[in-house]
Amino acid sequence: MKSIHLYFRQSVITSVILLSAIFYYGCSVNLIATYDQTAVNDIIQAYQLVDSFYQKLSNTPEDQRDYKTFSGDYEKIESSLRVLVLRNSARTLNKESTEIAKNILGLWQKYKNNHKESNNYDSDLIEIHRNRFFENFEAMTVAENSKPRTKEQ
């Protein structure tokens, strides 16, 4: 009788451990993508392109800021931003970073079209837009840096 009781107790303990292990390893909670250093590098690289563009625009006299002079830069940077959106959307549990990347791309396209329509870029707006891009890229970096370093974290 005693051995049956002992056997039962051991079985219960073994089952609890197995269930816990299965539950833990099979169903560990993952709410967000893990940190990716490559993603951080992509963000910094894209930001460098955008910021250099605004530096160039700012250094150009207002009467020489016609759209045609900058159209090549616009296309090149837009392509980089599209890649940034795609790379982020390819990662699972990465909805927030993808949305921020889409916001950046949307702002870029909007300012490009405004420049194309007016064929000029107001000096005050250059500073406002440059700072706005910094804030959006910063938000993207904060998001990436806040992600767990491993899946289990």
Binding site: N30, I32, E96, I100, V142, Q153
Partner: protein
């Protein structure tokens, strides 16, 4: 922005005339003549600035819209912080549970 200057100018004439009535017929006639001479200049200035104000307002609203987008990006980053913290808390609690069960062996 559509600016009906004729209507506005008629209103101006009426206000102007009402105030000049006290000065007699001569003052009223002279005042209306002076204002009529200024009509073209006033119309030109009003139309130019009405257009500038409308464009400026449109630009201002557009910039505010972009500020909203930026705020949205910052709140999305905040969501990542919250999710990451919650994930860490849950998984560490699970670690504690598994550790406690292992001690029972």
């Amino acid at each position: 922005m559509d600016l009906n200057f004729e209507e506005i100018f008629d209103g101006m004439l009426s206000v102007f005339g009402n105030n000049l009535k006290e000065g007699g017929e001569e003052a009223l006639t002279y005042g209306q003549k002076v204002l009529a001479e200024r009509k073209a200049g006033l119309e030109n200035i009003s139309k130019v600035f009405a257009k500038k104000f409308a464009d400026l307002l449109k630009q201002y609203e557009s910039e505010l819209e972009d500020e909203k987008t930026t705020l949205e990006s910052q709140l999305l980053a905040g969501e990542v912080i919250v999710k990451s913290t919650a994930q860490k808390a849950i998984n560490e609690a699970m670690d504690f549970l598994v550790g406690a069960i292992k001690k029972l062996i």
